[in-house]
Subunit: 252 residues, 2 copies
DNA sequence: CGAGACTTTGACCGTAGTCAATTTATGTGG
DNA sequence: CCACATAAATTGACTACGGTCAAAGTCTCG
């Protein structure tokens, strides 16, 4: 393991693992994807993702795992700006890590250079570059939702709203099972995301559990009646246009 | 005045007014700018700025006045995402105004199509298109500062931090006089920007005045000892690289 | 001068923060 | 598989920051 937590993946890696998140693939796609195999870069949880590590360039696609964009103030306070889930893309330009902004792996993370993928337009009629551009746009759109969350919603609304966003995003890449999905976040991460203290997050979650609005245990969440929850949490999926995430690699 | 609040400026408008904010100009620049004259679009305070109104396109440059990006929730809560000051540029694409996002004039506003200006590279060695692109980037960078503000700072810090940002931005285009600048915002706008109630904004401002940290009256603010204030407000101007605002029209 | 928009004030409430201790996972080496 | 170390979740007691409601005072501008 390199000191930065990043490792270029050798031929040891098993395709089935890294790309499983993108769903079952047609044989043609599989062949196409295998060609990227040695371009996948891995990070350990807690690692900072820099541009240029391994074979990852400035624009990257998340293959598996969760990451976040964050800033840490000199006095220790931390704010998380956004989350990066499988199928998301981000431009690492101007990420400095210092007082400014950094992308941090929240779990083990697999990443690939977006330009390498885009350069080979072999699979289907999809325009990979366009899909990446769309993913970048959606990230920006979500940023506004997030500002509303921390600026104008109550603690309960913030938590629900965020969980609903996670559901929709994960569902779009096949990472939900019915109303349930896995969520690898500590309560402290929730706190630093939603502008609350970890203690208050804890109490809010318990309240939501007691009210039967969510089921949350052992790293997985279940959201029954999302329609109603969305109402309660001011969650208005602006129909963020088409789904622009990088699932052009998924079965048609 | 059109129903939307937008009017295309005819030849009646006086150059000296609209472009005064960009500072005194060399004779060559003045001539160049005169050619844009009929492309300036005006809005009244409170008007929504849409792409395509008058001669303004998708990417616009603020010539004079203040505007903001905002969203209004169905229950009336409002969040302001960013402010647009003279010299700033913004891409109006995907501004819907409805539940999503809108640009609203906070004062009388003068705007010009960025592409029209960029199309004529006559003045100096500056690359206008690059300056506009930079301005767009800076807007994004400031968005992160803003998330930290509403997510992690106290009320007092939020207010100071925002005022310091205004100072730096206005100073960059010559709109400060010593430690003082004009600020056309109501306390309610502050509230909806900083995620606080208007009443609390009022009390916070009074507190800051009593502590002698700011002077605020009749629409103008004075910030003495900004170094100290920056310290207190976690204001860390990340040295947002070069100054990429649209002041390439200003004297060299 | 009057209307409407903004600001200011007071009283009171409630959400969320802080500090500190305890319990419960999680994980690691033996 | 157990023992220990560490991280994470939970709880209680107390505080305080910020919200709400309602009334009164100011300012602007036609």
């Amino acid at each position: 393991m390199s000191p930065t937590g990043a490792t270029a993946t050798g031929s040891i890696a098993r395709p089935a693992t890294a790309f499983a998140v993108l769903g079952g693939l047609r044989q043609a796609d599989m062949n196409h994807i295998r060609s990227f195999w040695r371009n996948v870069v891995r990070y350990t949880a807690g690692a900072i993702v820099y541009a240029g590590r391994g074979s990852a360039g400035r624009r990257i696609i998340i293959i598996s795992g969760w990451a976040c964009e964050t800033r840490i103030l000199s006095d220790g306070r931390r704010q998380i700006f956004s989350f990066l889930l499988p199928g998301d893309a981000i431009d690492l330009a101007r990420m400095s890590g210092v007082g400014s902004r950094a992308v941090m792996a929240l779990t083990r993370l697999e990443v690939i250079d977006a330009d390498i993928v885009a350069a080979s337009q072999a699979h289907g009629d999809q325009d990979v570059a366009a899909a990446v551009a769309q993913a970048l746009h959606q990230r920006e759109d979500r940023m506004f939702d997030h500002m509303v969350r921390i600026g104008r919603l109550t603690a309960k609304e913030r938590v629900l709203n965020l969980l609903l966003e996670f559901y929709d995003r994960l569902d779009a890449v096949g990472l939900t099972k019915g109303d349930t999905f896995r969520i690898p976040l500590t309560q402290e991460v929730f706190a630093d995301t939603l502008g609350l203290s970890n203690v208050h997050i804890n109490r809010t979650l318990q309240q939501l559990r007691r009210d039967g609005m969510i089921v949350l245990r052992a790293g997985s969440v279940t959201l029954h009646d999302r329609e109603r929850l969305a109402q309660l949490a001011c969650y208005e999926p602006d129909d963020h246009e088409q789904d622009g995430r990088f699932d052009s690699l998924r079965p048609q």
